[in-house]
């Protein structure tokens, strides 16, 4: 063997030795992190709050272990009801919503979608996985998008009372002009679940767009308020969500009788409800993000997001 070949061989050996040491070092580093399966070692997220002052967990990526949580809920044979409203031109969002849900939303668990629409024939044919069901319900059309939004509370209340009470364990009520792009599963389950609004998670409470007129039932005075919750996603146990929808609907009726409409419609009433009926679990804005293309340091993974739309084009009124 020539000198040159021997050099190459030695170089190769040296490379192997370095590679081996490096992998050994990496292995040691990783396992020593894993030894810390306890408090001060494995902290999860330190850049965000993972619990509210009333001790409800705030779910961010890194604050839960999906293997542990999935195996816990798999033993419980749960059914998750999921409602969505697609009236007028909003039916165009259904395909993406349903297809992306089949990919990311409670995968492996029983899900029953309840789809409310005024044009049942516009509902696309989306292939659903095993133990996934879809029920289409017809509604009369409405002329104002604000009315469409607000009427959801009454319809949800009736649905839960009449149909779901003995059928589902949990319910989530979602906006349809959205799409799933990451995991949304059993870590989100709880008795009463609110989602922190993606535009207000970093703001002081006086910026929150609560209803500020005392004439409205949704009024929240300055100095009060924990978080600003989005109306586009909320959920929980059947009983608690029924109480929520019933209360919001009653409050909205009182407002109508007084000829006042809350600034952000049922979202204002939802925030009022959540202020005095604290959610037992909060979902971070990963669970309803601004837009798929936007980023924020805190949101490491976007699970569910509004999709871009031209409001003037899809809404029945301005």
């Amino acid at each position: 063997m020539t000198m040159r070949l021997r050099h190459i061989f030695h170089f190769f050996l040296l490379g192997m030795f370095v590679g081996l040491s490096l992998s050994g070092l990496i292995y040691w580093v990783i396992t020593s992190i894993w030894f810390g399966n306890h408090l001060t070692g494995n902290l999860g997220r330190t850049d965000v709050a993972s619990v509210t002052p009333w001790l409800a967990p705030i779910v961010w990526e890194g604050t839960f272990d999906s293997t542990v949580i999935d195996s816990i809920y798999k033993q419980q044979n749960i059914t998750v009801a999921t409602t969505v409203f697609a009236l007028g031109k909003y039916t165009r969002f259904l395909r993406d919503f349903l297809e992306s849900a089949e990919e990311h939303y409670f995968v492996g668990f029983r899900v029953h979608y309840y789809l409310f629409t005024d044009q049942p024939d516009e509902v696309p044919n989306v292939k659903l996985g095993q133990e996934r069901y879809l029920t289409v319900k017809k509604l009369p059309s409405m002329n104002r998008w604000q009315d469409i939004s607000m009427s959801r509370m009454e319809i949800l209340e009736k649905l839960i009372k009449n149909e779901l009470a003995s059928e589902a364990d949990y319910i989530f009520c979602l906006d349809v002009d959205t799409k799933f792009i990451g995991r949304w599963s059993v870590e989100s389950l709880g008795r009463l679940v609110g989602v922190i609004h993606p535009w207000f998670f970093n703001a002081p409470r006086f910026i929150f767009t609560y209803e500020r007129r005392p004439e409205s039932q949704a009024y929240i005075p300055a100095g009060e308020g924990d978080y600003y919750f989005t109306g586009a996603a909320f959920g929980g146990s059947l009983k608690d969500v029924h109480h929520l929808t019933k209360t919001c609907q009653e409050q909205m009726n009182i407002d109508i009788a007084n000829s006042i409409e809350a600034i952000w419609h049922e979202e204002s009433h939802l925030n009022k409800y959540f202020l005095y009926n604290k959610p037992s679990k909060l979902l971070s804005p990963e669970y309803l993000w601004r837009d798929i293309s936007m980023s924020s340091g805190y949101v490491k993974i976007i699970r569910f997001s509004h999709v871009a739309k031209n409001n003037a084009e899809v809404r029945p009124n301005l």
């Binding site: 081996l20 894993w34 272990d65 005095y276």
Partner: protein, 368 residues
């Protein structure tokens, strides 16, 4: 020459593969576990636990159906209008030096993670009764006075508390002035000769107490050791369906150092590589229904062990840890809630709420 060089290369390659295999092996610590969540408990199927086959699908569940009428916990965390408190950011955790939530999203209570004004006002609306048990047998009756007096100062102040004190010498129980809404019931039990037996028999007594008296009377129960004292606030932030307290000597160690029962012959056996936390046997609690299930299960497991002539290394604490591994607590209390000694300190413990009091074991225990 060529052969030797080839041999070295093969050896090096083999070493890398070995490292990779060890890494992958570490990756496989999984076990199907059950949690008691807010909602309905589904009684699972009855399966005896096979210690060797401990990887998946373990369930400790109720045998048969209990016909107890549990006092209903009112739903919701209602807060009153006009209550003012500081806003908590969604981004800034109040404690960054400790974990405030477990991997199954149960909160871990440390000073700073909760707002007492808010939490007290939420629970005040629920008209709660909290049962609290303690056992003072033999010479341990000397701890009762400090325990009760300090509890009156710090423990669920302003809420309805019913103490249940088990003792073999009711006449030695001191007279302690109780606040309004607080009551003390003394229950006579038989003396026992071994402190280990005294400790372990608590599970059965608690199970029977809950069944016979508490089920329709209290919303929550806490079971505490008596050789202890309160030094700080212990209030409604500690309430939950199933509550465990992290052991003050084992909150900062790896799970392989936890003093779990390591003999597969015992029902309390937890194999290496498994375990979330090491919980103290000196304090645990929760809803009546959940604690009943806990005490019943532990009592059954200890009976099986007794029939097999084996006693777990830390008695009922070992069985408690086995239970909490397979039935995840819905809330954990930090070692602030069961500390080593009032004079001991640690960086993460900003306030000592409840702690062991120093004692001479040889003097107070009936046996060494």
């Amino acid at each position: 020459m060529l052969l030797r060089q080839n041999f070295i290369i093969i050896l090096v390659f083999f070493g890398m593969v070995l490292c990779g295999l060890i890494y992958l092996n570490n990756n496989q610590c999984r076990c199907n576990q059950k949690i008691k969540e807010q909602g309905i408990i589904n009684g699972g199927t009855d399966e005896t636990i096979h210690p060797r086959k401990s990887r998946c699908n373990q369930q400790i569940s109720e045998q048969g159906i209990t016909n107890l009428e549990w006092k209903q916990n009112t739903f919701g965390l209602r807060s009153s209008p006009g209550l003012l408190y500081k806003q908590q950011s969604a981004l800034v955790g109040s404690r960054t030096d400790v974990a405030s939530v477990t991997s199954w999203s149960a909160p871990i209570i440390w000073e700073g993670t909760f707002d007492s004004t808010l939490i007290d006002s939420i629970y005040k609306q629920q008209n709660l009764t909290i049962a609290t048990t303690a056992f003072a047998l033999g010479k341990y009756v000397r701890f009762v006075k400090d325990f009760l007096e300090s509890a009156e100062q710090h423990y669920f102040v302003g809420f309805r508390v019913n103490y249940y004190l088990f003792t073999d010498q009711p006449e030695l129980v001191p007279e302690v002035k109780m606040g309004e809404n607080h009551s003390l019931t003394v229950l006579k039990v038989q003396s026992l000769n071994r402190w280990q037996d005294i400790s372990m028999s608590r599970m059965e007594k608690l199970e029977k107490l809950i069944e016979s008296e508490l089920a329709s009377e209290a919303n929550y129960i806490f079971c505490l050791d008596i050789d202890t004292k309160f030094y700080g606030h212990w209030g409604v932030e500690s309430l939950g369906r199933l509550v465990g307290v992290i052991h003050p000597w084992l909150y900062d160690t790896s799970r392989d150092r936890f003093t779990y029962e390591r003999s597969p012959k015992s029902q309390a056996y937890i194999p290496a590589g498994e375990g979330d936390y090491y919980y103290a046997g000196a304090a645990f609690g929760g809803s009546l229904e959940d604690v009943h299930h806990l005490t019943k299960t532990c009592r059954e497991q200890m009976s099986i062990d007794a029939a097999n002539s084996i006693e777990a290394v830390w008695q009922e604490e070992s069985h408690l840890n086995k239970y909490f591994l397979l039935n995840k607590p819905s809330k954990l209390l930090s070692p602030e809630y069961m500390w080593r000694d009032i004079n001991a300190s640690a960086a993460q413990i900003k306030i000592v709420r409840f702690t062991n009091v120093p004692k001479n074991y040889a003097e107070v225990r009936p046996n060494p």
